[in-house]
């Protein structure tokens, strides 16, 4: 009885994460962002390097977890000069803060979508963000691997992380992030 109580205490220290574990396939995943320019058009950019691990149980989706890491220095907007500007202190400060990360803390099911709340860390600041995520069925990849797609979307205010360049001028504060992640079953 005593040992059972100790075991229960130990398990209680860890969050209940269960399900299949997927590694994010950086070669077939996309992280795209958009921001208003001159308050008229949405300007899109992307990050070329993304990594992460997703735990997902189709039978109990709220028990999973999402841990995503984006290489801030891989920002790509089809202009070398703009990319360099985005990498430095005015925006992502990628030398000092090389990664943008998201780590889920809770998941709720709303209709067909998951509302995944977690810690979003950028420029050394961590704040809660909720992504709306839809999950695909599985497919077979090369070599018989099992694949699953996760399509996530959220909108943040970049100023909350201290990224204020251009706000009040030609660049918007709100940034929409779209992540289309292909997971390979471990």
């Amino acid at each position: 009885m005593k040992y059972a109580a100790i075991l229960l205490s130990v398990f209680a220290l860890f969050p209940a994460v269960a399900g299949d574990v997927f590694n994010v396939d950086g070669g077939h995943s996309s992280i795209v962002f958009s921001v208003k320019h001159n308050n008229i058009a949405d300007f899109y950019g992307r990050f070329n390097k993304v990594d992460g691990t997703i735990t997902y149980d189709a039978g109990n989706p709220t028990a999973g977890s999402f841990e995503i890491t984006i290489d801030a220095g891989s920002v790509d907007t089809n202009s070398d000069r703009r990319d360099k500007h985005l990498r430095n202190a005015d925006f992502f400060n990628a030398v000092q803060f090389p990664e943008v990360t998201f780590k889920s803390t809770s998941i709720k099911q709303k209709g067909d979508a998951l509302h995944v709340t977690g810690d979003f860390t950028m420029l050394g600041k961590t704040k809660p963000v909720t992504f709306e995520i839809t999950v695909s069925d599985t497919a077979q990849g090369r070599g018989g691997t099992t694949l699953r797609g996760f399509n996530a979307k959220t909108t943040i205010k970049r100023s909350e992380w201290g990224m204020t360049y251009g706000i009040g001028g030609s660049l918007g504060d709100e940034v929409t992030i779209i992540a289309s992640l292909e997971g390979i079953h471990k």
């Binding site: 500007h85 430095n88 000092q96 090389p98």
Partner: protein, 291 residues
């Protein structure tokens, strides 16, 4: 807000505001500070006041301790003012120790996040090079004889900081360019104030604040903004133009002649850096910094 209005607002924050704050800071501190600090100390306080007010107007106050390395620069300048106001007047050995303390702080803050980018030998090379640059700047700015500390030194500072500002803006960061421009404008404010305050001058305290701010901004410009190495070195070299004033034929020259010479010598590498960046920029890339 229209782009033109935004540019005007940013110009006010980084060019007009530091002139006013720098001049006013020097004027007020020359009234308040004890006699021994009224010339040099007032210039140092004015320089920092103009720079810091503009820095926070442009970049915002990020709290303390700062998260971003560039946000440390005003605090490092404040440390320089305090250390040199307390003990910087004593002797060269003590000033050397104070410079070592400031340099250690600057290098720790700017090189600590770079550990993952450089191996041990590269890091030793970078830190060693930075120490050599700091020492050379110190010898240059303190090497000017007391009797020759005239108003043209403020102009030499304006030219040096303008160089850092230009290469930053042209090769990466509007923010670092603006705050470097703020340092230039603040020194410009000191020059204007010196026309009304004859005792205002650059001595060990003003030199220490200027070197601390300049090295901090330069390290940021090269390592974090990724300004091209050639342009960075050319911008740095403007900081040594002051040594031209040691030439015998300039020692007896008047303010205008000394000002023209030191500014021309300082501007030469900056013009070279601008030409280098202009000719190296890809012509098809018409990015306008979001404006």
């Amino acid at each position: 807000m229209q782009s033109t209005e935004m540019i005007v607002e940013q110009l006010f924050k980084s060019a007009v505001l530091p002139v006013i704050a720098g001049g006013a800071g020097a004027f007020l501190s020359s009234r308040i500070l004890p006699d021994r600090l009224r010339g040099d100390g007032a210039a140092a306080v004015g320089m920092l006041a103009g720079f810091a007010v503009s820095f926070y107007a442009v970049a915002g106050f990020g709290g303390f301790p700062p998260v971003r390395v560039d946000q440390w620069v005003p605090f490092l300048g404040l440390a320089a003012v305090i250390l040199f106001a307390i003990a910087g007047h004593k002797n060269t050995a003590i000033r050397g120790i104070l410079h070592l303390v400031l340099m250690a702080g600057v290098l720790w803050i700017f090189y600590k996040p770079l550990g993952r980018l450089y191996n041990t030998w590269e890091m030793i090379m970078w830190i060693g090079g930075s120490i050599a640059v700091w020492a050379a700047l110190w010898l240059s700015w303190e090497g000017v004889e007391e009797s020759e500390r005239h108003k043209e030194l403020f102009l030499a500072m304006v030219v040096t900081a303008t160089g850092i500002s230009l290469v930053s803006v042209m090769d990466g960061s509007a923010l670092i360019g603006q705050v470097s421009g703020a340092l230039a404008a603040s020194c410009g404010g000191l020059f204007l104030a010196s026309l009304f305050l004859p005792g205002l001058r650059i001595g060990p305290t003003g030199a220490a604040v200027f070197i601390t701010l300049t090295v901090g901004l330069l390290l940021n410009t090269y390592h974090y903004v990724e300004v091209h190495a050639v342009a960075s070195v050319l911008a740095l070299s403007a900081g040594f133009a002051i040594n031209i004033l040691r030439l015998p034929f300039l020692r007896e020259a008047g303010l205008i002649k000394r000002s023209v010479v030191v500014c021309a010598v300082g501007l030469a590498p900056i013009v070279a850096a601008v030409v280098f960046l202009l000719t190296g920029a890809p012509p098809e890339d018409e990015y306008d910094y979001g404006y």
